[in-house]
Symmetry: C2
């Protein structure tokens, strides 16, 4: 239950400080990733999908070619919760690893 | 070149007759698929991604949980082309096969 609580403004500020490429938009945590092409974008999404399934917390995400736009919100909590912040952190880790691999 | 031409209204009408679950929205060919959950939606997207890569024609698509919304348009042609119709047909075939498999 505690994990699904909506974060306060202060808590959100702290969370966003650790997620510099994310911002709050329409009450959701948002980031747009840009990959070189569809194959790289899809590689990212595929790794992310496994994590999403594991966490049982689902993004609203959009893809076209090398672009992946992600919106995270916890509808049950009526806003952004720690679960969204956790998923954002996982996505950042996946993207950073892919970026390191391709050099 | 011929394949990337924008379809005329008449050609579009003929194409849509074969794609009853698709409609024209914002100048794009649009369908929303509803699956039972994220795993089924992701299974569909994964099969579709291979086809997308093969055809080298990329959808604008959005997913949340069991919902997959697809928009098809050929920007080079300034509208819907035969390539969009072809991809829509492939997506229909994938969805139909998945639906048959799960009974």
């Amino acid at each position: 239950m505690g994990k699904a609580n909506r974060l306060s403004e202060g808590e959100l500020r702290v969370a966003l400080a650790d997620l510099p490429d994310w911002r709050l938009a329409d009450g959701k945590l948002r980031r747009e990733y840009r990959f070189r092409d569809f194959v790289e974008a899809w590689g990212f999404m595929s790794q992310a999908a496994l994590r999403v399934h594991e966490l049982d917390h689902h993004p609203e995400w959009f893809n076209v070619y090398g672009t992946v736009r992600v919106d995270l919100v916890t509808h049950d909590a009526g806003g952004v919760s720690a679960r969204d912040v956790a998923l954002a952190g996982q996505l950042e880790a996946i993207a950073a690893r892919l970026s390191a691999e391709r050099g």
